[in-house]
């Protein structure tokens, strides 16, 4: 008896979004990153298109964040200088740099918007990959900083964020005026995620200028909530829901390096084995799990996790003969 492959047909697809702009496009990037465009569930290329592979953004900050010793060891030479740090990440294979302006926080140095813009310009001058720039997380300050950054980097087609349900107008307007993309963050809630995308589109910013940050949980700490939201959003997008068709970013590094299993020493937990290996795998496993949910950009910290995730994504992109 012949076997018929069951192939699902979807009516919708994920938006295709390009980040960064080369000289010809009005920016100064030497490479751009394009994500999205899928018309199928993650990596099921036998029943639909998955034209672009997931990418990795590596996280840096404008001030030394004092991360875990395993990370500090890797970045010891560069953590006090965002320019050197960004270059190092590109050496490690980062497709994009994710720059968090932590030093803008009132409790963390309270850098002026102009100082922040200068750091962004310096990083742009130092590396050729596209940039993701996010504020310090304090709404009032970010609303002052991000428009100045957006203006200073006009033409570079940044991804700036974060827009949130109760604070999206200032960053979305800045992105609209200076032609950047917006990172729309929702608190593990697909209803708020969808509504936020609607609110942004009602401001006049077209849906394909937005990427979704659904809020990521780490392995062992609620990753299944993120995973099922990713999957549900993807199914919604594929069945034609335009307000869930945006590509997805997962902030894996931040979450994974908060997990006890990543940071506890072998001395304290001998059964858990070598700590550095464990931490790297905690980050990599969180990311590879979420790749299966349909994430497009992974924000990571450790270069070995970056290598493992990129290798995994590459292997998954090989089209199976079916």
């Amino acid at each position: 008896m012949a076997t018929n492959m069951l192939k699902e047909k979807y009516s919708g697809k994920i938006n295709t979004v390009t980040l960064g702009a080369t000289k010809e496009q009005g920016g100064t990037r030497t490479s751009t990153v394009t994500v999205g465009g899928e018309s199928t569930m993650p990596f099921l290329q036998f029943e639909g298109d998955m034209p672009l592979k997931p990418v990795v953004a590596m996280e840096i900050q404008d001030i030394n964040p004092g991360w875990h010793p395993v990370l500090n060891q890797v970045y010891a030479e560069v953590m006090d200088c965002p320019v050197a740090w960004a270059k190092k990440c590109v050496e490690f294979g980062a497709d994009m740099i994710y720059l968090k302006l932590a030093g803008a926080h009132p409790d963390n140095g309270d850098k002026s918007p102009e100082d922040c813009a200068k750091i962004v310009k310096d990083v742009l001058a130092a590396v050729g990959v596209p940039l993701i720039v996010v504020g310090c997380g304090e709404d009032e300050k970010d609303n002052a900083v991000l428009p100045v950054v957006a203006e200073a980097a006009a033409g570079e087609n940044l991804l700036i964020g974060c827009a949130k349900q109760d604070n999206y107008k200032s960053v979305a307007a800045a992105a609209m005026v200076h032609k950047h993309k917006v990172l729309a963050a929702s608190p593990l809630d697909i209803n708020i995620c969808k509504q936020l995308n609607i609110l942004i589109s009602e401001l006049g910013l077209a849906a394909d200028n937005v990427l979704i940050d659904p809020s990521t949980a780490a392995l062992g700490y609620g990753i299944e909530y993120t995973y099922s939201i990713l999957e549900r959003g993807r199914l919604g997008a594929l069945s034609g829901d335009k307000m869930l068709s945006q590509p997805v970013i997962c902030q894996v590094g931040y979450e994974a390096w908060r997990a006890k299993e990543a940071v506890a020493t072998e001395e304290d937990f001998p059964n858990w084995g070598n700590q550095a290996d464990r931490a790297i795998l905690w980050e990599a496993m969180t990311a590879t799990g979420l790749l299966q949910g349909g994430a497009h950009v992974m924000v990571l910290r450790h270069p070995e996790a970056v290598r493992l995730v990129k290798k995994n994504a590459e292997e998954l992109m090989v089209k199976a003969e079916i």
């Binding site: 209803n191 969808k194 509504q195 609607i198 919604g236 034609g240 829901d241 335009k242 307000m243």
Partner: protein, 263 residues
């Protein structure tokens, strides 16, 4: 839920006049307006006063296509006019509206559907009229599904209409129609689609919008996939959008009713 806008029909005075005079304006205005209301298909029907449907219907199709990219439900029982209209439509995805369950109609229309890659509204009516029970209606639905296979159509190329009658004069039919919808969805895999001429339920009653939307929600619960209706009845479209959310067909957000219209 696929909404088939009913308004471009020669039974309405403005459209009837426009069809007689080949005046594109009323048709095109309603095409735009129904899309804004939330319609996914536009029904086109010459009405009873067309002298030659093989001329008027293709004209209607072309006229509407000038301003709208929505797929069309071509509404006639004159199958020569239907074919002329399908040729005028010139692309896959039209909806043939409609045929009753009579073998000669199936033999005429199903090959046409396959040739022009159109879907077909199939009415659960036989030569002896509208059956009363759900069982008899489902038997007719099965005839359509079996014939689809013979003519190379998929079950989901069929929009099976269980037929609803006015609730003031044929009250016992509504519940049978609901049961029919439930059973049609079990007939095959993929299941046939279901549709209904929604406004019929309230003919000649003083409560038309209320009955229409109440029945719409009930029928959706039974598995209704589409309906021919007044796409500019906002309360109706709101009720349908709400039912879709409650049935977990669309992902909830605070602006769900607005989003439903934009799809």
């Amino acid at each position: 839920m696929i909404l088939i806008g009913e308004r471009i029909n020669g039974m309405f005075k403005d459209i009837g006049k426009a069809v007689r005079e080949h005046d594109p304006k009323p048709l095109q205005e309603w095409a735009v307006k129904q899309k804004e209301g939330g319609a996914h298909y536009l029904d086109v029907n010459t009405g009873p006063n067309s002298e030659d449907q093989t001329v008027d219907l293709p004209w209607m199709v072309k006229t509407v296509m000038e301003v709208s990219d929505l797929p069309l439900a071509i509404d006639t029982t004159d199958y020569d006019a239907m074919e002329a209209a399908l040729i005028a439509y010139g692309k896959p995805g039209a909806l043939i509206n409609s045929i009753g369950c009579e073998q000669e109609k199936i033999d005429r229309v199903f090959p046409m559907a396959a040739k022009y890659q159109a879907d077909v509204v199939c009415l659960c009516i036989s030569k002896s009229g509208i059956p009363k029970s759900a069982e008899e209606r489902v038997a007719l639905a099965m005839e359509f599904v079996a014939n689809a296979e013979v003519y190379g159509l998929q079950p989901d190329n069929l929009f099976i209409d269980p037929i609803i009658l006015p609730v003031n004069v044929a009250q016992e039919h509504a519940v049978e129609a609901l049961e029919t919808i439930r059973q049609i969805k079990l007939l095959s895999n993929p299941a046939p689609l279901t549709t209904i001429g929604l406004s019929n339920v309230s003919q000649k009653t003083p409560h038309r919008p209320l009955l229409n939307r109440t029945f719409a929600v009930m029928a959706m619960t039974a598995g209704l996939d589409s309906a021919i209706l007044d796409a500019n009845d906002d309360m109706m479209v709101d009720a349908i959008a709400s039912a879709r959310v409650i049935l977990n067909k669309d992902i909830y957000c605070d602006s769900y009713a607005k989003v439903f219209r934009q799809r």
